[in-house]
Symmetry: D2
Subunit: 306 residues, 4 copies
């Protein structure tokens, strides 16, 4: 595959980063997790995103993860690497590490400390993206970065060579539809949705897939839903979407509104013997009664050790 | 139709309020507008919502509108009346006027001046709703009221007799899916979506229709999209949804981000000779070059005098 | 006093509205409350503000309050009347009622339902203020209205005849200093602060006083603090400011973060036999254990029946 | 000075980081800047804060800055080092670097990528602070971190050994007064204010000084204002506060609302020949007409090469 031909499509899980301690990679767990995810038929793997605790990890560990994951994935699917940072220098350094290890694309949200205007944000992209060694997906994540890519800015950003798509985690489907409308004249521009609850509609109405956190645990469920939506098999879509809603409504609420998704996924993966449940600060590892609740939830949904 | 059997479904346009001046109802225009909308095959009409400028109108004019509109509609479709107010006394007074004139249901957003907590909001509903003479749809509109109905509060509110559904204008489809999941055990609870860009997916995935502002101008377009989605005619849905995106992206941007929808709809309806373009403060009436742009847009989309 | 010469200065309490039920004015309580407040030496009384539950009251009761309060105050101090409304027509109607009953000025926050841009807000003021029969103080209250008067808009608004000052309840002293800097060339423009915790510094550094909710209960405390600050009696300022902090930290926390101020003031005034404790929706009346806590707090601070 | 006896007071400028390029420290400029600031009589220097572009710099450069600055300051005033980071591991690493180079204290805002609840934030402090090798000032900066330290959390955080104070850049003086009220029983707890427009009132009413960005350029002005406020010389306070307002209103508006402060300070310092004007992304260096405006502004206020 030519790097410049990358055209992200399908289910690209934002992989959690398996840890044995806050600054220690769980290498054996990483290998098991990658096989677990690939066995589900996913179309790519996204490292160091929000679900991957990218911003919480040391730069040393981020590099180690890129190396180990690329080595384990061995080109079976495209690898995307998150380089979002408050420091452009560090974004560049990680992008070089990604390229050297054979990754396929980068994922870039807005800088997330200093507020800025939309024209300033466009200027940032126009200066930074040409320095990056790999194609870039923009990542719209205003709940965490305080700053969205407005539609008018995306229109301009689409003209910057190297920007190949956008992942939208805003949850605002009106915005996503505006982007799809904008991209009609540019069919190779990839538009993917973050929240897995929106995978069905995004795919049915013209989007290219989802970056679904839950696909760390249940990759097949999201791949099946994506395939059903692409095939316009409406009965299957309805059934699989309901499964996603049942599962996420129950599962993510256990760990609480802020830390529930990531700490919960890691807890479940450790219960399945896939990798450790350790998390980096500011997250808390789920233990005790909450861990038992997660086990119950896995039982309810028939999720067991592979 | 028994009032208690009302089960809002389909396209229920939030009718603009035709004015000849800020405090003068355009009665002839109102009659033409109602016929225009009903000719499109809509399933109900919603008076005094956000698009209807409810909060900007004098109470005298709100009453006059209810009387005239109910008289003109003559029971051909259900009439819903917005009673949202910062004063519960005034909400009650409008609700009585609605009942006396034969309206079918009320629509109630949160009070929008004083901030409050979710339990305080639930208490407000528990005290107010039993005093209302008609069934009530909740109206989630946090961009204007500063306050959403959280999912946990909706769960409790569903137990209050008289609450028959919820219209969600948050644009947050993750929230809407959570409500649909919540309401699976309560199939008569009506869930409708506000932004017309979300009508297709909301209807495809289990929602009951939309309260589409654009249906003031093009009622048939939205009715067709709703019917196609209910029939799972995916080709028609795709085509009609694209028409909605093309039209709204172009049309609503003319009048600017805040006043564009309402002032724009009124300008277009006046260009079509249906009713006057006057608006109540704080809106501005669209004039001059912008009015010409709206005429151009109508021409482009082939929208002409009925 | 010529109306056009009004120059608000000092302590102008935002009077709570005494009620015996949500839509029934406590007329005897109103007279006692006015005498209680005037005995404290205040420089004006502000009716129908946020503390006065203006947006929660029926229009009938708002009118009755204006009549009764103006009659009882008998011109002993200037009377300011809040006319903030989502409907400009209703703002105008209340402004006429205020003028007919001999009030001295109006207080106007931004419309609080529809979002708007700053230029749109300036246009609203430029159209509405010339229609008002009395001088106007602007009221910056973004926590409740979602919309602030930006410094650049205040600069333009100062040129509109009839606008005589601004009350800032944003709590943002950097903004307040910018306004004071702006108004240096316009010494008759009145700048008053809302939060009573900021009265000391606002008055020390060039502001003209405060619209202190606590002055309903303890008018003398705030008048003393204002006078000490004007006299640059720093020792007295320090002592009185500390009393304000001790009292407000303790007192307002009893009723909770949202309803604590207004429900708490009404509860305390009813315990002192001044007026009833009833509140309009969406507030709750304080009862039971919370009411006992408020009595304890009054005892602690030596506040007893006049 | 014993580290544990550090009691931050007075004017502690958040030093800009002199650069010749985005990842190259301007070492000669750094030495000139430090002498310039110390000549103004300041009471400490704060490295790697918001004004210091801490979050935008590479970790390599952050370390180089700490080394060089500590070497140049030579213990003449206490050195505080910002360690705020989305990664706790990197915060710890910088804290060790600070301790090894003889810095006196650390400054820690909330992690700024993942949202969290207040109890989760307290847990973060309770786990992280005991691992830090130096005393810690908390840094309340919700405009940049999305998350404030609520008063109730500060109450608990004051019990964590090692936390010696809080710098509040929220601009919310009501909050600051609550903290001062809270800290009355703990007189060694340092409370400093961020926005320089609030230095006068914060110091007059019990605060311990300010972390004033403008003190990079005009250290004496802020030191004089602090001293006048401590001496209760009200005439001098009024005069100096007015100078601060005149200067900041004019100067910071040149570079625009978001980048104006930091890019403007660097531009002015380069015009004075003190250090280079280069900035790290996402900021833009001020050039051309804006640079001429800054020179004009310096001329107007009589600020010339030292």
């Amino acid at each position: 595959m030519e790097k410049s031909d990358l055209n992200p499509r399908g289910i690209i899980p934002p992989m959690i980063t398996p840890l044995t301690a806050r600054d220690t990679l769980d290498i054996a767990g990483l290998e098991r997790l990658i096989e677990h995810i690939l066995n589900g038929g996913v179309h790519g793997i996204f490292l160091l995103g929000t679900t991957g605790e990218g911003p919480s990890l040391s730069y040393r560990l981020r590099r180690e993860l890129i190396e180990q994951a690329c080595r384990s994935i061995k080109g079976r699917v495209p690898v995307l690497v998150g380089i979002t940072d408050s420091s452009a220098i560090e974004s560049l350094a990680i992008s070089k590490c990604a390229a050297e290890n054979g990754a396929d694309a980068l994922v870039l949200a807005t800088p997330y400390y200093y507020p800025m205007t939309q024209p300033e944000l466009l200027g940032y992209l126009q200066r930074l993206v040409p320095q990056l060694p790999l194609p870039v997906m923009l990542y719209n994540m205003p709940s965490h970065t305080k700053l969205a890519f407005d539609v008018d800015i995306v229109r301009e950003a689409m003209k910057i060579p190297g920007i190949i798509g956008l992942k939208d985690s805003s949850g605002n489907m009106g915005y996503f539809h505006q982007l799809m409308h904008l991209a009609e004249s540019c069919p190779e521009f990839s538009l993917m949705v973050g929240p897995e609850q929106l995978l069905a509609e995004a795919t049915l109405l013209g989007g290219h897939g989802g970056v679904c956190g839950g696909a760390n645990l249940r990759p097949r469920l999201y791949v099946d839903l994506y395939n059903a939506a692409m095939a316009r098999d409406f009965k299957a879509v309805t059934n699989l979407h309901r499964q996603v809603m049942e599962f996420t409504s129950r599962f993510y609420s256990i760990g609480g509104p802020t830390f529930g998704v990531i700490s919960g996924l890691k807890c479940a993966l450790s219960l399945l013997g896939i990798c450790g449940g350790a998390v980096a600060e500011p997250f808390f590892q789920i233990e005790g009664a909450k861990r038992a609740e997660i086990q119950n939830c896995l039982n309810t949904f028939g999720i067991s050790k592979p």
